[in-house]
Amino acid sequence: MKVQPNLRRIKSKLWLFLWVLLGIVAVLPVISMVLEVVIRGLQGLSPVVLDQVSASSFGGNLIHAVAGTIVITLWTAAMSIPIALMVGVYLAEYPNYRFMYVLRGLVTTMADLPAVIGGLFAFSFITKHSGDGAIMFSSIALSFVLMPRLIRDTEQILRTVPSVIREGALSIGATKRQLIFYVLLPSCFRLLVRQWLHGLARVMGETAPLIFTSFNDQALTLPLSTFTFAKGATQGSLLEAWGRSFLLLIFVSILLLVSKQISRRVVR
């Protein structure tokens, strides 16, 4: 009678220990990775290193990559978000047509394809393999990666609105379009914006799709020039690579932080 509670206590202690251990195992790599990126990145961004490397420059300068990342991300947003919103709404709210099944199947498949295929697909649109257009085609490539994911998520988000809310809108004389724009989209707005920001943060760091569309501009975006510098494998160029991934981490963190902030309720 006395042994059993003790045994139970030991057992629960053991479990606790195990959980903590597993927690550490899971968190440690993340923490050490972030630390490494920050420490080495700051080194890599120091003026001395920057000067040295751009003197021997083969990976392009930093401003170019930062600007490329920002512009391409904005273009990707401008192309993917409106279309994804429209198609997502269409899938969620007009489910009655056979065409929808085909479209949904296509979108779900595309959303799970490796990103590199999006790049290849965009590549197939390129007719003239010279001059500029790297920004445009890279944005298109990233849109192919991002859009199917956004469409799928948009549909799922809209489906979370309970049918009793939809019926409430219809019951006071809302048309289908009014239901969508006046009730559904506003009540999903937070979730949608969060999903956009997460998606953009995700594709912002993609390298693979840009292989085809960068027109040999090896420093077109931060991840691409990170890749280029890392391939260089000299002391200086490795530090440059760290510097760039640090900046990328900052950009992604900003997007994710903004998306966290949006959690607060919006009421009209």
Binding site: N96, E167, G168, L170, S171, I172, G173, Q178
Partner: protein, 250 residues
């Protein structure tokens, strides 16, 4: 002005399944009519036929005719029908992103009304009719979802009244409310019947006995019996009605 709502031989289907079998029923103005019946017998489906909400459900369709006064509702747009035949649901469903004020004003704004003082006027009147004005007049800009469940349901009634219906359909409006709140809603219904034609679906036989002048008993998609509530409960003509109201099944 309250109007008669008349259903003629209304049947309804979900896909191939027929769930409503030729119901004919006239709902008189300035009375409360109750629909009772066991779960799944088609009460909600019938109510949704009256304001053409059923056609918003995928795969659902109805046959037969519904008249509002002299007018066939299929001669109006679905939207107009739904404004004239307001509906309140089993679960309070205020628009979650909107304030108290905007919830009530929503129907007017959707019609394209822009006159702010006109809207404010109508919102106040609707909230008064729903007996909610005094409780919320100082916090009209508060999110509607912060109200209590009973207040939310009153708000939904106000929202329906704001677009000036002549009929109010209430589908188990008190089923999620406490007994006290239920009584409050019942009082409100008593009060509203002087201006509106009222149809209430209820599981609760006592509730039907308390608020309804007439009662219809539905079973398996058919209307078994319809008459004065008193008669239906005390001297039912049909054996099945008797079994149901005496609690022998359902």
């Amino acid at each position: 002005m309250a109007d008669v709502v008349a259903a003629h031989d209304v049947s309804a289907y979900y896909g191939q399944t027929k769930v409503l079998r030729g119901v004919t029923l006239e709902i008189r103005p300035n009375e409360v009519t109750a629909i009772i019946g066991p779960p799944g017998c088609g009460k909600s489906t019938f109510v949704r036929c009256l304001n053409r909400l059923l056609e918003a459900t995928p795969d659902a369709r109805m046959t037969g005719d519904v008249f509002l006064g002299e007018q066939n509702v299929y001669d109006m747009s679905a939207e107009e029908t739904r404004r004239k035949i307001g509906m309140v649901f089993h679960r309070p469903n205020p628009f979650p992103t909107m304030t108290i004020f905007s919830n009530v004003a929503a129907g007017l704004r959707l019609q394209g009304l822009r006159n702010q003082s006109g809207i404010a006027d109508r919102v106040e009147r609707s909230l008064r009719s729903a007996m909610l004005w005094d409780e919320v007049k100082d916090r009209l800009q508060m999110p509607a979802v912060l109200l209590s469940a009973a207040q939310q349901q009153q708000l939904c009634i106000a929202r329906a009244l704001a677009v000036d219906p002549s009929v109010l359909l209430l589908d188990e409006p008190a089923s999620t409310l406490s007994p006290m709140a239920t009584l409050q809603i019942e009082e409100l219904i008593e009060d509203l019947k002087t201006h509106y034609t009222i149809l209430i679906v209820t599981h609760n036989l006592q509730q039907a006995a308390r608020v309804a002048d007439k009662t219809a008993f539905f079973l398996s998609g058919e209307m078994v019996e319809y008459g004065k509530t008193m008669h239906l409960f005390t001297t039912p003509k049909d054996k099945r009605t008797e079994d149901y109201v005496t609690g022998r099944f359902g």
